[in-house]
């Protein structure tokens, strides 16, 4: 397997080549800081704008320090302000949280069970199933917009939590990640447990899963991020505003022609709050995200 964690610690730090001459080095650093600003600036502008008033956001969109910082946006979003509740942010938040938690738990369970069976258990039809999983990964999600609506509509779960959650529970990429991981575990461990008389279920639950922490964490994080950021599925699976999530709610709010060009502090504040959970996870577990990004290339 390729080494996926590009952390510098493992490599020898001794330089191969002489250091770059000083002027070139400084120019390089300047360029690099320019690049880094390009990537960071939009988020900084977003942060500062959510503390501005509407007129200031319009007249001075670039300044990073609000002249008269206000938390009005966040009071309005969390419902503690008195400016009406045209943005049902808390409902979006609770819908997103509910769906994400259930989907993440379900995916970890189903992905690891299916991944283990495909990696280790010998049964008829396994090879066909592996091909099936790989084929499913190749199906582009946006092609399924209308098809998914058809199935949900036919099953009578359109515009319900069931319709939002159940189709997301099955995820070919996660199964593949788990399968790859289980294949890297030495077989001897399971053999030993088997000789001690443990059955497949016990081996999986008490021997294999506890050894699989890194892969389980990766799949958990990817599932959380995936379902928290999911947009297209909720767009075609729901209709009523009761089921709006942070993504569908925000998308309808900001893309609507009526309020275009106004209320930017509110819009950016809502977007900011909706980013925080994934951002926190990302900063805490960065190396697992990196592993996940590279797992995409093993497909």
């Amino acid at each position: 397997m390729r080494r996926t964690d590009p952390s510098p610690t493992a490599t020898d730090e001794r330089p191969v080549l002489a250091r770059v001459p000083r002027p070139a080095r400084l120019a390089g650093y300047a360029l690099l800081i320019g690049f880094a600003l390009l990537y960071a600036l939009p988020f900084l502008v977003q942060l500062s704008t959510s503390f501005k008033t509407d007129p200031e956001a319009a007249s001075n969109p670039l300044s990073l320090l609000p002249q008269a910082p206000t938390t009005a946006v966040f009071e309005q979003l969390t419902g503690s302000g008195d400016t009406g509740k045209d943005v049902p942010f808390l409902r979006w938040l609770s819908n997103s949280a509910l769906v994400t938690v259930v989907v993440t738990l379900g995916r970890v369970l189903f992905d690891s069970a299916a991944g283990y069976a495909l990696a280790r258990l010998r049964f008829r039809g396994r090879a066909v199933l592996v091909t099936f999983v790989i084929a499913v990964m190749a199906v582009p999600p946006v092609v399924l917009l209308i098809p998914k609506f058809l199935v949900l509509n036919t099953l009578g779960i359109f515009d319900t939590y069931t319709g939002m959650i159940v189709p997301l529970l099955f995820d070919a990429a996660g199964i593949f990640i788990m399968k790859q991981f289980f294949e890297s575990i030495p077989r001897e461990v399971e053999e030993a447990a088997r000789i001690d008389g443990a059955g497949v279920g016990r081996i999986f639950w008490y021997v294999v899963l506890p050894m699989s922490r890194p892969a389980l964490i990766t799949v958990t994080l990817l599932s959380f991020q995936g379902s928290w950021n999911e947009f297209t599925h909720f767009l075609v699976a729901t209709q009523s505003s009761d089921y709006e999530t942070l993504t569908t709610g925000l998308a309808r709010f900001v893309s609507g022609g009526l309020g275009a060009g106004t209320q930017y502090p509110l819009k950016l504040g809502a977007a900011l709050l909706s980013t925080i959970p994934v951002a926190v996870l990302f900063f805490c577990f960065q190396r697992y995200f990196i592993r996940g990004a590279n797992a995409g290339s093993v497909k």
Partner: protein, 380 residues
């Protein structure tokens, strides 16, 4: 049921032979393993079959219907129209065909600009972040990767604000004396804007280019390039995807044996020489992987279109994915929408096929073969 293709009955558990409890490899264990195997995969088979395979079959049927989303399309009363939906999209002169042509034109330019830019930028960033002497490498890596993990809708919201007519981007441009366009309202194709600025074409070319059409769209439209509004989507795509691709390049860079670089340096090769004759040849398989992943991804652009333009201005941000959605959910012409889905599926599967075929041909699983070639190149 679509799952029937893959769903075979599990072999029955074999009777236990006396005196031989389930030893590893014995037939009893095998039989029980088969049961467990199917128990473990059955949720997946059911779920993926029900929500991935079945939808495709149902949509294939609906793409042959004239269906408004109200009645049950799976009864004999359904209004079966055969290949009519495909015909009006591909062969007959009319609104459907010119909309599809416009969306294909838009997406093609989006792909042509996004893929090289994101690949090039990702490679540059990876090479920079891979420098061993660089300070703050991990912080830089985090900064470049962060846009890739955030929600596309949240990021689009930020871009809506940044690229407004009087927004932050135009304010930045005004500092260097450029008057920025009204990004989201500007439907002019950038090629004509450029040629107009150079004084070669006045506004939009007329004459031959405007008179002759392909798929109901004049050549002056086909050649116009992405609209100014589409350019914001391209910038957004490059900005959000380059971080992910940078990580893929970075992993590949760290797989290159250090001895190779050291040997080249001892032979007197300079930095530039090593980059060109050692690193880049070794990265070629990954480069191909990233390019095809980019091709597959960019043909599916949807979220950004939904938030930033919904096809506007003048249909210049319309893409096949959004057109399909809009036919179904805005116009209640689900048959037509499903037909567009299948055309898009064809395009994406073609890209995937090219990727799979090339990876097999080139032996990308064995980057060392490339390395050796690269090392030979460095000696030349």
């Amino acid at each position: 049921m679509s799952t029937s293709v893959t769903e075979r009955p599990a072999p029955p558990p074999l009777p236990r032979r006396p005196g031989r409890p389930g030893r590893p490899g014995s037939r009893t264990t095998r039989g029980r393993e088969g049961l467990w195997g199917w128990l473990f995969v059955s949720p997946m088979v059911l779920g993926l079959g029900l929500f991935m395979a079945l939808p495709i079959l149902m949509a294939a049927w609906v793409s042959l219907l004239n269906w408004d989303g109200q009645s049950n399309p799976f009864t004999p009363d359904a209004d079966f129209v055969g290949l009519q939906n495909y015909q009006s999209l591909l062969a007959e002169d009319g609104l459907a065909r010119s909309l599809l042509a416009t969306s294909l034109r838009n997406n093609l330019y989006y792909v042509l600009l996004t893929v090289p830019l994101q690949t090039g930028l990702a490679l540059t960033l990876a090479i920079i972040v891979n420098q061993r002497m660089l300070r703050g490498r991990s912080m830089l890596r985090t900064t470049f990767y962060f846009p890739s993990v955030t929600s596309s809708i949240a990021v689009c919201t930020v871009f809506l604000f940044l690229f407004q007519g009087s927004g932050a981007v135009n304010q930045l441009l005004s500092w260097v004396g450029v008057k920025g366009p009204n990004w989201f309202q500007d439907s002019r194709g950038v090629l004509w804007v450029l040629l107009d600025a150079l004084g070669i074409v006045d506004g939009k070319p007329g004459g031959v280019l405007a008179e002759h059409t392909m798929m109901g769209l004049p050549f002056s439209e086909w050649l116009a390039g992405p609209s100014v509004a589409m350019c914001t989507l391209i910038v957004l795509a490059v900005w959000t995807t380059s971080g992910t691709f940078m990580l893929i390049f970075l992993a590949a860079l760290q797989d290159i044996p250090r001895e190779l670089e050291e040997a080249a340096a001892l032979d007197g090769a300079g930095r530039r020489h090593i980059l060109r004759h050692v690193l880049l040849p070794a990265l070629r398989p990954v480069m191909f992987l990233v390019t095809t992943l980019g091709l597959i991804g960019t043909w599916q652009v949807f979220d950004q279109v939904y938030v930033l333009g919904q096809g506007e201005p003048a249909n210049t941000t319309l893409t096949p994915a959004f057109l399909s959605y809009s036919y179904g959910f805005d116009n209640a012409e689900f048959g037509q929408g499903a037909a567009i889905s299948f055309i898009l599926l064809g395009i994406v599967l073609l890209m995937t096929g090219v990727q799979r075929w090339f990876l097999r041909e080139r032996g990308a699983r064995n980057p060392l073969a490339k390395l050796r070639k690269g090392a030979r190149g460095a000696q030349d």
